[in-house]
């Protein structure tokens, strides 16, 4: 019963990846419409050495830096805001259902729409942000999506808006399975609210937080739609997925683009491997239960 799924997954996921590796070892341009083996046999990894150490290697390293900056900063804020939201939702028992529905709106809004939404908010002339800045007498002529690092900041804000609620829901689910007696006991022992949070809530929430962190980190590392719609990767928002796309799709360099895509893949897999080792236990209990 498992085999149809596995066969399908192998066909639609593994085969393309293998094909990507094969393409990345070749030089292929759609403009010249011909496939040639990498010219010099001495450098079968030409696309990789070019990407990593060649004349244009700064493109890859810049994209790596931007991708990681984006991931670390946005996941950090998502965790903090998500945790705060979850605590508030857990405490607010009146209207928790409505709050949950409200909180799902940013999550459900398409990423493309998220990008357009924040574009309208940060629009230099009629956007909400510059209008407000102007109203309180601050400089209100920033072209947010046309400057570095402002464009990356907008991208991070948009991502945090869209996904902090997801974080909040996962953490809330974790909060709800913590038995109330534990707090009762903590209170009896004279622990302050902060101590109870730090010594009881956080450790008990750890499994839920870790799962949320993994999902979010892996998503953020492969971010594509947000920068593409916001800036097309200009002004310091070019992520790894974006430069791979631009190389193979817009510049029609399938070999080079595939090499960049494979490098992105390797980076994401390495991070997910680290994470899965970290929470492998959870997964194992789920599989073995």
């Amino acid at each position: 019963m498992v085999s149809p799924s596995l066969v399908l997954i192998a066909l639609v996921a593994l085969y393309p990846i293998i094909y990507a590796v094969w393409l990345s070892l070749h030089q292929y341009s759609l403009i010249e419409a011909g496939l040639t083996r990498w010219a010099e046999p001495s450098s079968p990894f030409g696309n990789y050495t070019e990407a990593l150490w060649g004349a244009d290697s700064s493109q890859f390293w810049t994209a790596t830096r931007i991708t990681f900056t984006f991931t670390i900063v946005s996941v950090f804020f998502e965790l903090v805001i998500g945790l705060a939201m979850a605590m508030a939702m857990h405490a607010a028992f009146k209207g928790q259902g409505i709050l949950r529905t409200v909180i799902l709106v940013p999550w459900a809004v398409l990423t493309v729409v998220t990008a357009i939404t924040w574009q309208t908010i940060f629009e230099p002339e009629l956007g909400f942000v510059n209008t407000m800045l102007g109203a309180v007498g601050l400089p209100s002529n920033t072209v947010w999506l046309g400057e570095e690092p402002q464009a990356l900041i907008v991208m991070i804000i948009a991502d945090v808006w869209k996904t902090a609620p997801f974080m909040a829901l996962l953490i809330l689910a974790g909060l709800q399975v913590i038995p109330g007696e534990i707090y009762e006991a903590g209170k009896v022992d004279g622990a302050s609210a902060w101590q109870r949070f730090q010594k009881l809530t956080l450790p008990l929430l750890m499994p839920a937080i870790l799962v949320a962190l993994i999902f979010r980190t892996l998503d953020a590392l492969r971010i594509f739609d947000l920068p593409w719609v916001l800036t097309k990767g200009a002004h310091g928002t070019e992520t790894l997925s974006l430069i791979s796309y631009q190389t193979f799709q817009q510049n029609r360099l399938v070999g080079e683009g595939s090499a960049l895509a494979v490098l992105t893949f390797v980076i994401v897999m390495a991070v997910s491997f680290l994470y899965i080792r970290f929470i492998g236990g959870n997964l194992r209990t789920m599989a073995e239960e």
């Binding site: 019963m1 799924s5 607010a92 259902g97 709050l99 459900a108 309208t120 209008t131 709800q176 599989a287």
Partner: protein, 296 residues
């Protein structure tokens, strides 16, 4: 928070997740502030989009909180635009077919993973999960090349097939945790009565798993509706382009028109199905998103 998170009555028979707490009493003022802040944080940006979508012409260069002269012109113009309506139709077909396929195929796999005695169960689940973490870009380039060679480029099946790479793992992951919650006795009774594994699955488990199937279906549908990278890579014309891709290539009906209003209107329209899903299936969605996340 202390007053609120401690149940007033200590006797809570079993139902951990739904602790009934004393109502109202002792809700501190800052909690209301926090709740208000959450609502504004979540809804205001979307309101701003709605606000922009109701403006045309000179109104678009004002930043008033309410549109000075609200108009549905932008909505009219996108629905008169065949590019948009075709894209809407494509999106619906692609998302529905992807969801149906992954539910059918995925439910077998999830059932086997949840129930049958199999070696390497952990390994299979780990592989399935790690596929869902694949960066889309790594399959976009090869599939782009492949589809152009075999003629699936710019077709609807050409989108549905690669969409299974994220839809199937998602379905399998959610369904596995749902199937596990169904009491085993029922199936065992069916097996004792002479049913085969497959019959027990189809006649006993599937009906009981309907909520789980709905959850997996909704989440898969949303993921497919949302997908962007493959949609712009694997289509080149309006014949298979889905809405997210169409919006990204949107320009005003004339070259000189400021397309912000129409883009906003289109964005609102394509968000409506998802917001309706959230309104009606909030519980299911939350259950799906948190499936397996809190079992540690």
């Amino acid at each position: 928070m202390e007053a609120a998170s401690v149940p007033a009555t200590v006797e809570r028979a079993g139902t951990k997740a739904k602790q009934r707490r004393s109502t109202g009493q002792g809700t501190p003022w800052w909690l209301w502030v926090a709740v208000f802040a959450i609502v504004v944080f979540c809804l205001f940006p979307f309101y701003w989009l709605l606000n922009t979508s109701l403006k045309t012409g000179p109104d678009l260069s004002t930043s008033a909180l309410l549109p000075p002269s609200p108009t549905l012109d932008n909505y009219q113009s996108i629905f008169n635009d065949s590019n948009f309506t075709t894209a809407l139709k494509n999106s619906a077909i692609v998302a529905l077919v992807t969801t149906a396929l992954s539910l059918i195929v995925g439910s077998f796999c999830a059932y086997a993973l949840a129930r049958l005695r199999m070696r390497r169960k952990f390994l299979i689940l780990a592989i399935v999960l790690s596929i869902s973490t694949f960066p889309q870009i790594a399959i976009a380039a090869p599939i782009f090349k492949l589809w152009r060679d075999v003629g699936l480029y710019d077709t609807i099946p050409g989108l549905v097939i690669p969409y299974l790479t994220f839809a199937l793992p998602l379905t399998i992951y959610i369904l596995t945790s749902f199937f596990k919650e169904i009491p085993r006795d029922l199936e065992e009774a069916a097996l004792v009565d002479g049913a085969t594994n497959f019959e027990a699955f189809r006649k006993v488990v599937v009906p009981l798993a309907a909520p789980g199937l709905a959850t997996a279906g909704i989440l898969t549908f949303i993921a497919a509706w949302n997908e962007f990278l493959l949609a712009i890579t694997l289509t080149s014309s309006t014949s298979a382009r889905t809405v997210p891709a169409a919006i990204a290539f949107f320009t005003g009906s004339t070259q000189f028109e400021q397309p912000l209003g129409t883009i906003s209107a289109a964005s609102v329209v394509i968000s409506i199905p998802l917001i309706l899903l959230v309104l009606f299936f909030q519980k299911r969605i939350v259950a799906g998103l948190t499936a397996g996340a809190v079992k540690g």
